[in-house]
Amino acid sequence: MDNKKTSLDAGYERIPAEKFRFVQENEELRDKELQTKSRSFFADAMIRFGKNKSSVIATWILAALMLFAIIAPIVSPFDIRHNDPIYINYPPYYRAIADLNIGILDGAHSMSGQTDNSLTALRGIAVETGFDPLLKITGTHVSESINKGQVVQRTTYDVEVNAYYQKGIIYRTFSYDEFRKVQEWQNETGIQVIYPYVESKDISGISDNANLWYQVNNKGVAVLDDDGNFIPAYSKNQEKAGAEYNSLRIPGDDGSYIYSYAMSGSVQCRVAYYNYYRYLNGMEPNYIMGTNALGQDIFCGIGVGARFSILFAILVSAINLTIGAIYGSIQGYYGGWVDMTLDRISDILSGVPFVVVTTLFQLHLAKKVGVVGSFLFAFVLTGWIGMAALTRRQFYRFKGQEFILAARTLGASDRRLMFKHIFPNGIGSIITSCALTIPGVIGSETSMTYLGIVNLSSFAGTTIGTLLSQGNSVVTSAPHAILYPSIFLGLLMICFNLFGNGLRDAFNPTTRGVDD
């Protein structure tokens, strides 16, 4: 040790004196200017947020969902107020894609236990209207039963049919004026809407099935000719014709078929609903997510519902944040009996179940301030409590610290201490809690509209909860009606939560991975 020291000293002494020079001789000594850019608290948090992959992905999906909510009602050809009376709970369909026959968006609806006769009936629709409802036969079951001592083979099929085409022809009653308008439209576009009339006496007296245009037996089963073709049963009874018809005629018509049936002051016709829909709406029923129980477009409905949900949740969160922050600041800053009194008040409010609050507000206030207003009050009444508790904790943490004492000594007022010195310290957790409040509000809002306690349909058109509840009653026959809203809501909630968690980790790096 000693040796080492001496040798070092010796080396140091051996440096010649002329090699030494002053660091600064005639200059001022200054701090170097900072070379790096200073990073604000937020920038720092954002960088940390960007490193969290799942949150970033969630943010992108969230942005996509929001964009969907904004764009869907605009690009959808249907308005949310457009209710079709016939196409109710119909599956997703888009004409151009359905024509490609690739198994998506083809209005497919599965039916099981179909007999040969029902397949013939489907063929009847296809032959008359030109739209073939039968998409494919997915299964064939042969069962044998013994009838009057003989073995009878019975074949049933599982089929997929295009629900839109399957509707085929319906009876419609027109005024003379409207009948003329439909004819004009037919002449313009060349699309056949009105089909020749069939008198029920010609089809074994059946009057409730407009799709029969061929000869049938008394069970409504087609009687085919020897080649297996349908035998037309169109009426040629000119006396019964309701009004003049000068428009498209179907192939095979020599001008003798009648296209309307006289009623008092009006005419009854057989109209192909698909084409009639085009006449009424000027477009094809391209419901890419299908329709719901009210005949609304689900694609548009989800967008409209999501717009409302998100805006409402942001509004509620903003109000609760403000009230909670002020309430919690007062509680935390003054402490003592103020804290205790305010705490008791929030204890009482938080004890009331949310369903009860919502119901009471709906019953009391809906007539005065509207459904949405009273729903908003219900959320605000108890929603701020969590925020207040959070702010209060922050205040207890910071109010005893030295910098507060210093500020107070310098004469800062109470309000300045609260909102300039203490409050900004807790801003990270406050932002986080806000980001996690939004999905909570969306969840509660959806539950309440789902349960039917709050009905926002007249205000917002529809909501996700309403769509889900309508879909839930037809889950077997039209699963699409609940599937799409569910997917949307599920994704929205997951992404909001991931986004919120990401923010929390970014703002409070010490609590990373800890769920509170």
């Binding site: 204890d347 009482i348 004890g351 009331v352 179940p353 369903v355 009860v356 119901t359 009471l360 019953l363 009391h364 207890y396 999905p439 969840g443 959806t446 539950s447 789902y450 349960l451 039917g452 306690i453 889900l468 879909g471 839930n472 889950v475 077997t476 699963p479 609940i482 599937l483 569910s486 809501l489 599920g490 909630m493 997951i494 909001f496 939560n497 991931l498 968690n501 991975g513 800890v514 769920d515």
Partner: protein
């Protein structure tokens, strides 16, 4: 400790009374649903309303209500839904269905949830942990009616294993009845599993990194011994109160799940009462749900104190 428990209980009763009072008055302030014209009960209903003091000041009405409650435990009669039947009787009739479904659900979900949480914590930062944590996050985020729909669609419709809705009878312990309850039980289970899994994982990871664990290992305990004897015990300080709270919560059930699976329980009764403006049932439901919420909180707080004497929730800081 006893003193603390008594204090908390008394305070809860006070809060409960105030809430009941407020809700009672708010409900009584609502306009009464009109008696349908030509109803044979019209006179009886009018007399009963008179006896309940509908035309008197609210405080007096509340006094009449309290008197009936304390002398005869009388919650009034149903007016709209089940004309003339005592509300309490209706309520008690519906309660078992709610309780049994929730009981079945938490009986298997709490152990599973805790086990998954422990597994995730022990395998922290491996694929096991990531999978469990992700699934937990997804399940907690997605609202219960979304998986109720999936369960209904897959198990009840596609696979046809279970019936769509719960049977109406009251033989709750028959196999057939149990089978009809399974979809509802499943739908209720996901949330509970995820909740317990998340709490357990968070607690246990924290405990596992603490210094007394290092000491336990240093003094020669194996990893298993240290985990079971020291880590788990400490993390149960947080979990056990949660279990108690969950058990109180089974009374309340879930309005949504009850509606989807047509469980003939109190949730359905409450919703029907709200829709048909049957105020007496609504008052009872309000008190019931309030009491459950408060009781769950109370039990959690007090059991914290009993399990870990260092903790006094809600006492002076």
């Amino acid at each position: 400790m006893i003193k603390y428990a008594i204090q908390r209980t008394l305070y809860m009763i006070l809060v409960f009374s105030i809430i009941t009072f407020m809700c009672f008055i708010l409900i009584r302030m609502l306009p009464l649903p009109p008696v349908p014209p030509g109803d044979i009960h019209a006179e009886v209903i009018a007399m009963r309303r008179e006896a309940l003091g509908y035309n008197k000041p609210y405080l007096e009405q509340f006094w009449i209500f309290l008197r009936g409650l304390f002398t005869r435990f009388d919650w009034g009669l149903s007016e709209q839904l089940y004309t003339g039947r005592p509300v309490l009787e209706l309520f008690l009739e519906k309660l078992p269905a709610t309780m049994i479904v929730n009981l079945y659900s938490i009986l298997w979900t709490i152990p599973v949830g805790i086990a998954l949480g422990i597994w995730a914590a022990l395998k922290k930062n491996t694929w096991v942990d990531y999978t469990i944590s992700t699934l937990t996050m997804v399940v907690i985020s997605v609202p219960s009616f979304v998986y109720a729909f999936l369960i209904q669609y897959i198990f009840c419709f596609k696979l046809r294993i279970f019936p769509f809705v719960m049977d109406g009878g009251s033989d709750y312990f028959s196999w057939h009845m149990f089978k009809s309850m399974v979809p509802a039980i499943l739908a209720l289970s996901f949330g509970v599993i995820a909740g317990f899994c998340r709490t357990t994982r968070a607690e246990l990871t924290e405990v596992l990194t603490s210094e007394f664990m290092l000491l336990a290992r240093t003094k020669g305990l194996t990893k298993t011994q240290a985990t079971v004897r020291h880590a788990l015990r400490n993390c149960f300080v947080v979990i056990v109160p949660g279990i108690f709270g969950e058990f109180i919560g089974i009374l309340g059930g879930s309005l949504i799940i009850e509606r989807i699976f047509s469980i003939p329980g109190v949730g359905g009764l409450t919703l029907n009462a709200i829709n048909s403006l049957d105020y007496n049932i609504f008052i009872l439901s309000t008190c019931f749900y309030t009491a459950i919420g408060l009781a769950a909180g109370l039990v959690v707080d007090i059991s914290y104190g009993f399990i870990d004497p260092r903790i006094r929730m809600g006492s002076k800081k």
